[in-house]
């Protein structure tokens, strides 16, 4: 057991915890958070694989001892994950403003008490 394997097992647990939140949390914002948790766990798995593959580069005298290919993929992945989160948040805030709910249920139980779409956006929310 070394540190890298330990991080790998932690990453597996993070994916499990994120998946649990994604399914169990009723609020969409909590689901977005949980989804970020899954993504972060998967990035960490990549990082573990990069570290395992990195010995050769260190032997070549290039300083770093990580495999740069998975690392570069994780960096682009982080940027795309941020962009995806931004879209999800924008859609969710808009949903809350127009439909008056922040869950993904389709039954109109909460929405019926509020006139959907009729209210000018922003009057109810600070």
């Amino acid at each position: 057991m070394n540190g890298t394997t330990l991080f790998g097992l932690g990453a597996a647990a993070l994916v499990g915890l994120g998946l649990y939140g994604l399914i169990c949390q009723p609020g969409a914002l909590r689901k977005i958070l949980a989804f970020n948790l899954i993504g972060s766990g998967i990035f960490l798995l990549f990082g573990v694989i990069a570290k395992r593959g990195g010995g050769a580069l260190a032997a070549a005298g290039s300083g770093s001892d990580g495999d740069p290919v998975p690392q570069a993929l994780v960096i682009t992945g982080l940027v795309v994950a941020f962009a995806g989160t931004a879209i999800a948040v924008a859609l969710l805030v808009r949903l809350a403003e127009t439909a008056g709910r922040s869950t993904l249920d389709t039954d109109a139980q909460d929405a019926s008490s509020l006139p959907a779409d009729a209210n000018p956006p922003g009057e109810r929310l600070p």
């Binding site: 890298t4 499990g16 939140g21 169990c24 609020g27 949980a34 770093s64 940027v79 922040s102």
Partner: protein, 317 residues
């Protein structure tokens, strides 16, 4: 058990307990606080994995900017949380889901334990082919030379993302300014910070782009720092977010990817392949792309945070 392993164990346990906290926290706001702390600890894990470039990106983007985004959303959505809680699944269903997720995690854990030995790797290939690019940082080499297509697509994909965020605005709000950034009450401390910090931030960003060719650093990290500085200035109220119809900003958005594509196409004639660089010009061209992309990505990140445009009546509240 070595000292390094003990600190790794402590890090993993802290990260996992924060992940649990994100699941059980009563309000979304508390969960987001957990997420930001989680991101900072994750940064330490990346350092331990010898991935300095990723660590910097995680700290600036994964923890910092995502944190601002989620804080803003959490405070806007706080009035709806009571209704959410009523819809949580019952204990039996939770147990079932928990078991399912444990199986998934155990499967992944087994994969980690059964990874092939010796690890398959592209690292020697990268190390051999780094010298023609004139770069020292292998991660930048992969991003801009060996896997340049990925990086190009990734910088282009920010555009549909921003269009997606903008397009949730109501028609009447289109001419307005973005308003999703949290606006804390005016305070002298915040104003001071927003005046003192940006010069340092800009300096750090330039430094990151410049050394990115040879040492950990590069355009994404620099762009995240620049975006954070701009967002700070906007949150302090010293500058308004630009209206989405402003032409100059839109041009800034596409300049990075355009230059990348132009140099890539020029490579067809000069170096016999799309996105290939002529041998003696590789480093200057890569640095030019890095600089242009830094500007564009910084504007993208800040505008993604600033959110969809909102009408004037909304901005006042």
């Amino acid at each position: 058990m070595s000292l390094g392993l003990i600190s790794d164990l402590v890090l993993v346990l802290l990260v996992l307990s924060l992940a649990v906290w994100m699941n059980i926290a009563r309000t979304a706001y508390r969960a987001v606080v957990g997420f930001v702390a989680y991101g900072l600890l994750m940064t330490l894990i990346w350092v331990r994995l010898a991935a300095m470039d990723v660590a910097m990106t995680e700290a600036a983007l994964g923890s910092g900017l995502t944190g601002i985004l989620l804080f803003g959303a959490a405070s806007r959505l706080a009035p709806f949380e009571a209704a959410e809680r009523a819809r949580a699944p019952g204990p039996a269903l939770r147990l079932l889901i928990g078991l399912l997720c444990t199986v998934v995690a155990a499967g992944l854990g087994a994969v980690v334990l059964l990874l092939p030995e010796p690890a398959p790797t592209l690292a020697p290939l990268v190390a051999e082919n780094l010298s023609p690019t004139g770069l020292q940082n292998p991660v930048t080499g992969v991003l801009l030379a060996h896997r340049a297509v990925d990086t190009l697509l990734e910088s282009v994909v920010l555009l549909p993302a921003l269009i997606g965020v903008w397009s949730v605005a109501a028609d009447a709000d289109w001419v307005g300014r973005p308003s999703a950034l949290p606006r804390p009450p005016a305070s002298e401390a915040l104003t001071l910070l927003a005046q003192v910090l940006p010069p340092f931030g800009i300096l750090v960003a330039i430094h990151l782009v410049w050394i990115g060719a040879d040492e950990p650093g590069g355009k994404f990290q620099a762009a995240a720092v620049l975006a954070a500085m701009w967002v700070l200035v906007m949150m302090a109220g010293l500058r308004q977010p630009p209206p989405v119809v402003a032409r100059g900003w839109r041009e800034l958005l596409v300049v990075g990817a355009s230059l990348f594509i132009a140099i890539g196409i020029a490579g067809i004639w000069l170096a016999d392949a799309f996105l290939a660089y002529p041998e003696d010009l590789a480093k200057p061209l890569i640095i030019a792309i890095e600089v242009a992309l830094t500007g564009s990505v910084a504007v993208f990140l800040a505008l993604l945070l600033a959110g969809p445009p909102a009408g004037a009546h909304r901005r006042e509240v």
